[in-house]
Symmetry: D2
Subunit: 387 residues, 4 copies
């Protein structure tokens, strides 16, 4: 059986999610190329060793430059904070390593284009971590659209709603600092909606957006605080929030569809509502990640007296990936969007093709993100081709 | 018991809804001033007589000018097609009649302002038919917001989704003709969302929109076709659709809240999804007219382990209007938004105050509608104060 | 146009519901025979006159014996408390009046059989008020079953859950006294589930039940208290609750289907959950009265990848009765189950046939109720044919 | 770090689920005793080796008698078909091994009592695999009840609905053969409902049931077919189905609560609806495994105007186990009910106490199963104490 030796940079939320995917893959998809969990990399030796042991990596290293030069490594997995992506990815590409980089690719469109260029020049495989594509229900949405069962698409409305920083006393974590995170809700959450829209509807043509930072100062955190923290901080010193709390935008797609998008961390009651609805000439589909195993589907050609949205539980053997899991009706969780993502990556390497989504998708997503930002700064419609 | 003699112009969908409200009021709200169904007015004598008999009006007249001069009439109810509103309303006001006018007040902002001015000059009561305010669940939303139980409002996202013209062979009815209807989804559906946003969130500050007519030509209908028609037409001759099939816009409110709005008649599977969600610093509320007796409510101060959206069935005696109806859990239908609307109108006349919503609300809604239209034409943000 | 002169005995909850139906019928079903609201009858002159005026009856009378002898009356509507049904119905039948009697027909099976015999002997029309049959969504369920689209029925599980007497301080109203109400949750709520099961699945073969009175004593009410009361009473004197708070039973149907039934007034959070699910060899249907305009439908022959329960909003013109109401998506309320019920009654009189459901259905429902009671008393399965 | 060496008998559906739990535990609960995946045991060498390799066991053995004598092994995990449980468990106990046995413990109550006696005599830890207890939402239900937040319990209604054998051409797999499976829907599905009822409500006092085998003969399968198979078989030879397709029963609990239970494999549209609702004097809770991360909760002491069932997404850090997983709103899947189950087992061994649920719970569940069977055979109420 073929194997791919993996070196991973980052060991927090995404590092845990990726590690789990590498571990799960051989058990549920035994015919796939096996990712070997060779080296994990991070700056803090104590935290790193704990992660190595807990997640099951063979060894660890604190210098990513050493890792990307390691001849034993085939693939570099980059899930460090966003501001570090570019330098690592380019160095790894130049060292001939395949790349698996979390989204967003980089802090700017220009940087992401440099990363793509480096990967293409080096001839390596490159994947970007838009994991939500790999929920079976989202795959079903894609299938229905591709097969024409929804018809010509008129509308997409997509939201990504969270509430973890609703409390003004929640501290100023790195995700609220522009120099590290690049952007706030827009790049963190909106990026996923944009990628799903590209995946399901097609390319964006023009956009116009608006945004807001509702809580402009927050307590400075003594230490990085987890994403799911709900409570506040005792710190009396305040620092400026330099990213958006919420970003909305409207879009027109190349194929004539209209889009409405909203990303916010101020939607009380929504822990992780990554949701979209698509309306076409022959039907509609609805998805909400908080019920990630379900897809709502409507067909105009159903018998007249029984038309209605169907709640499809995408856990049957007929649904993507699900013959590898449990009997029908037995749900899978968030983490396996990553397992399926890694499956695609392993398959692409095996078949000597680019995985999907790859850095091209990463760049195109970044184009839309940046076009929205420009439209906000200049208060006008911005076409993607301007960039 | 006091009575108000009503003369009504129009006898189609809205004429039926208003008639039913006048009939229902004394039975369910016996202490209210009683509207007497005196005269119904329309152009086609045959259809008019059938409506008179069916709806229970004492007499009929084909000339609205005669009706507004009828000394026996206290209130003129205008639910004729939108292009006729202005002339009737002004004449009625000048004749000293109270006014109850369906939305939109008129085809243009200027016309609506003329109507308001005429009503104010004449010193009559004036009401505009934004009936959705009067669903008990919407009243509950208003109460929660007014009492501060949702906190400071950050977001509203409102959609009004229908699908009755999705079929390209659906004929060119009057609602698809700009000269009669004024606008398409925007004025017909979006107007309701705008009014609900004003009612619940506050005044709009600036907007930017986009729209589209997906099906640009349709069969010319031999006769007016009902709103709910789903099938097509045999007519081979095509005419131009001159209104929007869908209009989206974003908004910033005076109080800093952000808004996202979408009205469309091309959302397959949605018969009448007049829905909104509002997120505040202390909670959230959600409403969908297809389940009009329900309000989803979330509070941030619920105990930590049982936080979640509650599905409140707004049919308890503690909910607005519901002690007049049936025992808890027994739902009421769409039609009684009008019954409650007429209750407010009768109460306002009795108490010698303006009903709410009145022509001021009608004008302010028209301002937003027109600001959105201008923002679309000029591809830029438009502030309400420009108008 | 033909007319039927109605005399109605009773003017509380059901009297209001029936009156409203008589008033609504001509407006929404103008081609039907028109029920004329002639005489309303009750014992308390003050309450009676208020009801007469509010509901719109021409005159009133305090003696039902006079009413049933009134030559001007064609139909006697009986919605007085259950213990009065028998005597009035038999006297009215003997006077040649058509009968419309609320459920349950009588306090005992024997009494209900006497009523049926009297009606049949007199040759009059007789209807029993199982109004839930007339929700459009329930009619759709019936249609799907009749057309074989659900296949052979294996299961029905039906519940009728309320919570209005959950508070132990809620007073001892007449519905909690056996000598007036006959039974508690079983006859009040369970009777509806039994009738729906007979309507949709078929005849019962055998049953076994259990019941409980959770709160055995309650404050004696100074005056009759409304059904929807949630609060308590100040009365310090307690009286015995002589009816069941909850009754459950299992059933086997003549056609081999299995049934599970539960009626309770102690299900916190359920104001009026009259719900059932039916599973057949080709599909399933689900209904919950709290969302009375919806039917959930599943078909086994849907395409393999999009199988799931559809939420059908039964408000399209293709659904029973709905072309008489509003455009698709505009819901109707509880009260119109009675409007449709009266439509069936008027049509049956016009067509000289028995309405459905009639006293035969009332008796058969009573048979099941009584078989369950006997099965509880004797702790054994009871076949319907025993009775 | 402490470790427990595991030997596992069985490698199909449950073997995979258990293996996955052993692998996941150290990654998500790094402080727990670590289960070492030492030896996997099965009869078919080819299938066994594939499972060993795929699931990650160190070695394999085809003779369970050798396994239970292996001195290196601390714990025997038994998930072979039900008819093999007893012999293995008793031999393992006698060899001093801790026991982890899938439900049902055995084919008969007597056998299960023998297993408990052997385990107790040997002084080993014993756990039974009622995994649904370990869904975080079910743990929340338990917490709410234990803390008195639902009050005195009046009702439980529990169903376990599936549809995988609805098609009459589905073959005669081992789960449909009494000599291997012991019973059908009753022991397979109903056992879970019974255990959840014991966990949440308390001990059963008396029961009465009914059952049915709707499809009495099926094609004989050439080879064992998976649980999730929906299609049919080509086999022309038919064999008798010797287990129940559906079993319903009613129950009275020691604490006075009433229960309604139904298990069926003939509920079209239900892939795995393991659902229950509990009504108490202070509130209600609802659970449906198809949405396993959610609990619906209602409290009678919520403010009067906002009472309603809350949809709690049990993924916050405040919910059981969830601080070990992902940020709030990120769901987990079916498989981790087993991860949490294994966590309890490891903790119990570490703390030298019996895990919960253990063989006592397995026996008590079997008592109820058998009491129901007897009540069906003898058509009468059966008290648990009779057994």
């Amino acid at each position: 059986m073929k194997k791919i030796n993996v070196g991973m940079v980052g060991y927090k939320f995404m590092g845990k999610a990726h590690s789990n995917a590498y571990r799960a893959l051989p058990m549920f998809f035994p015919n796939a190329v096996k990712p070997e969990m060779k080296v994990i990399c991070g700056r803090d030796p104590v935290g790193l060793e704990q992660a190595r042991s807990q997640f099951g990596w063979e060894s660890s290293v604190t210098d990513w430059r050493a890792l990307v030069q390691d001849k034993d490594i085939d693939l570099i997995d980059i899930n460090a904070p966003s501001d570090a992506h570019k330098e690592i990815a380019i160095a790894a590409a130049e060292a001939g390593k395949h790349l698996f980089c979390e989204k967003p690719l980089a802090l700017t469109l220009e940087d992401s284009r440099d990363m793509l260029a480096a990967a293409e020049k080096a001839g390596v495989k490159h994947m970007v971590g838009f994991n939500y594509r790999f929920a079976p229900a989202v795959q079903l949405a894609k299938k229905l659209i591709t097969e024409g069962r929804i018809g010509k698409i008129y509308h997409i409305r997509a939201v990504f709603l969270q509430d973890w920083i609703l409390d003004p006393s929640f501290p100023l974590v790195w995700r609220l600092q522009k120099e590290i995170a690049g952007s706030g809700s827009h790049g963190d959450l909106g990026a996923h909606s944009i990628d799903l829209a590209r995946f399901l509807v097609g390319e964006f043509k023009e956009v116009i957006g608006m945004n807001e930072t509702f809580v402009k100062q927050r307590p400075i955190a003594a230490a990085m605080t987890g994403l799911s923290a709900k409570g506040g901080s005792d710190a009396s010193e305040l620092g400026d929030v330099t990213v958006d709390d919420a970003t909305l935008f409207m879009a027109r797609f190349e194929n004539g569809a209209l889009g409405s998008f909203e990303a916010t961390r101020f939607a009380a009651g929504h822990r992780c509502t990554n949701a979209f609805e698509i309306n076409g000439s022959k039907g509609s589909i609805k998805f909400d990640f908080e019920r990630m195993n379900e897809l709502q589907v409507y067909f105009t050609d159903d018998a007249e007296d029984v038309q209605g949205f169907r709640r499809v539980l995408a856990t049957d053997a007929s649904h993507a990936y699900m013959d590898a899991w449990w009997p029908a009706g037995h749900t899978i969780g968030y983490e396996h969007t990553f397992t399926h993502e890694v499956l695609e990556l392993m398959n692409a390497i095996e078949e000597d093709r680019q995985p999907v989504p790859n850095f091209v998708d990463g760049v195109k997503c970044q184009e839309v993100l940046e076009a929205v930002d420009r439209s906000i700064a200049e208060r006008r419609w911005v076409t993607i081709s301007e960039l």
